[in-house]
């Protein structure tokens, strides 16, 4: 169905409010972008192509709320897209991107022409590379269907083994334990949240999960998933121990879905490489969300798998398309709900910084300030939104603080923030 595109079309400037924009991927980044484009006065055609049949929905509840009615939350009401003049093509995986012809091709064989294509293809759960990983009863968690499987397991009271103690693994474990389901979390590293949190926060959270009945095993290497009749029955560790399991969740990270970009020859390096304007190495292709590696102020280029980053990149892409002023750089932040705790982390946690504790971890309400010679770089908070918000201000302002005052709960944060 591809039609020859006249030369004049191919070479006309990328972007502008009349550009035909095709967004590939109906996750948070893509859904945010189409709204922002119309808010910014975009007049051109906007097509949002999603591989799933569901309208774009919030993914954080998949691991946090899968056992309750709040699981299914659409990002915008279903009527929104038509009202905003956005063509939705759901259930339509895109299998090809041709930067020379400026087309994308769907699995059904349709070709869509674009002036600007935006790759928002996200990431897929990293597969577990051990024998038995393909047994029934072994899932990753990325979409509503996966979450509904987890819900049914919890409802049935199935014995659950979770491989990987990252955010997803621990959030699911917390929900399962609260529902009274026996749950074990296996982590190959020596601490939970190894990749995303400080050693201090890891220790506090491991203890909290243990107190709520989650069986956490660190340094646990999975050798094999064992089954009978094609269904998983247990997890054998390299130590020789076998844990019985009626359901296994694999939560060992996510792999960016760069296939389209790679096949099209775009620069990729563990993600589609983008600049601070969401631009890829092709002038007519932008990329946003979990599929990207992006610049982060003071850190360099990295993947930031988070809603705030997806939203920020949607703003960058909207500005790049509309030709408006780019948004100011934001400080990365993350949230995670586990047990009775709302964790909020601002800044990128790195080892080798001094850490100051404010508050009492046993109460569940505390903050860990990570600083270099009094310059706050990251703050990990639990049930302490004031510390989170104040921490963000301290990082942004670049103020030098006295660590002793941060640690003293009698010194109001207000004084510290404003003294800076």
């Amino acid at each position: 169905m591809t039609t020859e595109i006249p030369h004049a079309v191919r070479t006309r400037p990328v972007a502008g409010p009349d550009a035909r924009v095709v967004v590939v991927g109906g996750g948070h980044a893509g859904a945010a972008l189409v709204g922002l484009l119309r808010q910014g006065g975009h007049r051109g055609e906007i097509v949002l192509v999603g591989e799933e049949h569901d309208h774009p929905y919030h993914r954080p509840p998949l691991s946090k709320k899968f056992a309750c009615a709040e699981l299914e939350q659409v990002i915008r009401p279903r009527e929104f897209y038509a009202e905003q003049g956005v063509t939705l093509r759901l259930g339509s995986p895109i299998v090809g991107l041709d930067p020379a012809a400026r087309t994308v091709t769907s699995a059904g064989g349709d070709s869509l022409e674009y002036d600007v294509a935006v790759l928002a293809t996200g990431a897929r759960p990293r597969p577990l590379a051990v024998p038995g990983a393909g047994l029934a009863g072994v899932v990753g968690l990325r979409n509503l269907a996966d979450a509904r499987v987890l819900r049914s397991w919890v409802t049935e009271g199935r014995r659950l083994v979770i491989i990987g103690a990252g955010y997803v693994g621990l959030e699911v474990a917390a929900v399962a334990a609260a529902a009274g389901v026996p749950v074990t979390v296996l982590e190959r590293e020596e601490r939970v949240l190894n990749r995303v949190a400080s050693a201090e926060l890891s220790a506090i959270m491991a203890e909290a999960h243990g107190a709520h009945g989650v069986d956490i095993r660190v340094g646990a290497l999975v050798a094999e998933l064992v089954g009978s009749g094609g269904a998983v029955r247990g997890v054998r560790l390299e130590s020789g121990e076998t844990l019985s399991a009626e359901g296994v969740l694999v939560g060992i990270g996510a792999v960016p879905r760069t296939e389209l970009a790679e096949a099209a020859g775009l620069e990729c390096a563990g993600g589609v490489v983008v600049d601070e304007g969401a631009r890829t190495s092709d002038p007519a292709v932008l990329a946003i969300g979990d599929v990207t590696v992006r610049p982060v102020d003071g850190v360099g280029r990295m993947r930031l798998e988070s809603i705030p980053s997806a939203t920020e990149q949607a703003k960058q892409a909207a500005a790049a398309i509309l030709g408006t002023a780019p948004p100011e750089a934001e400080i990365p932040w993350f949230w995670s709900d586990q047990l009775d705790r709302k964790l909020k982390i601002v800044g990128v946690v790195r080892s080798g910084r001094a850490v100051v504790l404010r508050g009492d971890p046993t109460s569940g309400r505390f903050a860990l300030f990570h600083h270099e010679h009094g310059l706050v770089r990251a703050v990990e908070t639990s049930n302490s939104p004031a510390d989170f918000m104040a921490g963000k201000k301290l990082i942004t302002s670049g103020a030098v603080v006295e660590p002793r005052r941060l640690a003293d709960p009698d010194v109001p944060l207000r004084d510290i923030v404003h003294a800076g």
């Binding site: 808010q39 919030h58 929104f80 709302k342 909020k344």
Partner: protein, 105 residues
């Protein structure tokens, strides 16, 4: 259906119907008004739905929880009238309420 007026950061004024039971944030998201980013979807986590609610209207909504108050204390442009619009649940008596959307942090 209660009518809510939003004054958004570019100064424009939008009047929209918001069904009772939904939040002031929902009404903005639904109508694609600029200013309210609402990235956490209304779970009182992100403080990107910051609005100012003038005195006479403040009593029509539940008081802010400690969590909301703390998020707002250090929010950009915080004022005594600050609220998070995801926590402002519209009822039948909210017809005519007017909120001003805070500039983005």
């Amino acid at each position: 259906m209660p009518e809510i007026t939003y004054v958004v950061p570019d100064g424009s004024v939008h009047v929209v119907d918001v069904p009772a039971g939904q939040s002031v944030m929902d009404g903005s998201v639904r109508n694609n008004l600029p200013g309210i980013v609402a990235e956490c979807g209304g779970s009182c986590s992100c403080a990107t739905c910051h609005v100012y609610l003038e005195g006479e209207f403040a009593d029509l909504f539940d008081e802010a929880t400690d969590e909301e108050r703390e998020l707002l204390e250090y929010a950009e442009g915080a004022q005594p009238t600050s609220r998070l619009s995801c926590q402002l649940i519209v009822t039948g008596s909210c017809d005519g309420v007017r909120v001003t959307v805070a500039p983005e942090a």
